[in-house]
Symmetry: C2
Amino acid sequence: MKKRMDRDSRREQIAEAALKLAATDISAITVENVAKACKIVPSALYRHYKNKDEIFEGLRELVRKKLKENTVNAAKEETSSIAILKNIALKHGDFIYKYPGIPRLLFSDQVANKDSLKRKGFLNIMAEYREAMAMIAQKGQQTGEIRTDIRPEDVVFMFLGTVVPPSFLFHLSDGEFDPRLQIQRNLILFEDAVKNRHISEES
Amino acid sequence: MKKRMDRDSRREQIAEAALKLAATDISAITVENVAKACKIVPSALYRHYKNKDEIFEGLRELVRKKLKENTVNAAKEETSSIAILKNIALKHGDFIYKYPGIPRLLFSDQVANKDSLKRKGFLNIMAEYREAMAMIAQKGQQTGEIRTDIRPEDVVFMFLGTVVPPSFLFHLSDGEFDPRLQIQRNLILFEDAVKNRHISEES
DNA sequence: TGTTAAAGTGAATTCACTTTCACATAATAG
DNA sequence: CTATTATGTGAAAGTGAATTCACTTTAACA
């Protein structure tokens, strides 16, 4: 009757199930709960992942993919660098609001703990991400819309500054604090701070 | 021979021991390790704290105290609002660099997890903290050094934006990324973004 | 100095998970 | 149709803590 799921779909299903569980609480990601969500028995998970750590690895991969998707879409929708960055920030707001598991995972220490390999998982995602942002910023400097007296990486940090604290508060407040509104407000200051002022023209 | 420790010192010693353990990894904070660090036996901890959660509560209290100390000292050293805020940010950089356990704890989900009471612990600390910052910002607006077209809370978020992302990266990178340098750079943009521009005078 | 309460000890218990394993069943290819 | 391989099952074992408890030691002080 019921067709069995093929290998790849099952692996993905498992990671998705874990991501959903992360929305409540990272500690809800137990082998048992993940298995239950996939309607299989705990031990069956081990046919698809060597152990729980590998499930987390799959989870990180999932997050990486979704984050990248966001940035790519944002770049398609806008042309100016600042507009792209702002769009990405807004998309992130919607995104983490929709998947509260994402900040949970990023800030979690279960997923990225002592053994530096696991930690490097997210660190690499962040590095890749920061680099992509830096390239956008650099382009903005070349076209003259972003001030050139700071490094592109500093623009990136300013960008992170608009997104990370609201996300963190969203995480801490267990969903009560709406990160999207604050990100919008922060973006006003962000634009103001990084745009090239052309002081001579402005006065 | 050896004098036994009095009740209060012992409680504090336990919290301090937990904080030190947090520097490596939150999961290193086990009843056994904490006890070992205090040179007593695990079960003895229960004479001082009802359970592990209460130890974490003591830990949060310790963090709250240390954070407050920072802000108070910064306020003493400077007069202008912006200078105070910048000073606090710098102090925080030094601070978390010295106590890597602090960001670990803040971002940890062991310490502040599902049951909302625990989570509220840090949430309250953050709320208190943000309020204190907001008051400084408001004062800055009254004296005219900070622009008045944004809410004090937005200044606070901008402030957090300078400190939180570097702290987070410090945490993720396991101490390799130095938050202090980036905070310094971020503060340049921070000051630039929030100070009152007096456009009429500047041109 | 002998009594009492507080603090510490060690062993045992419990608990929530993860992981393994021998066996069962479904899909697939020869 | 049968052999083979991939998946899934259920029970059992293993693990790493947290917590409890009866018992000892220590400090304080009447």
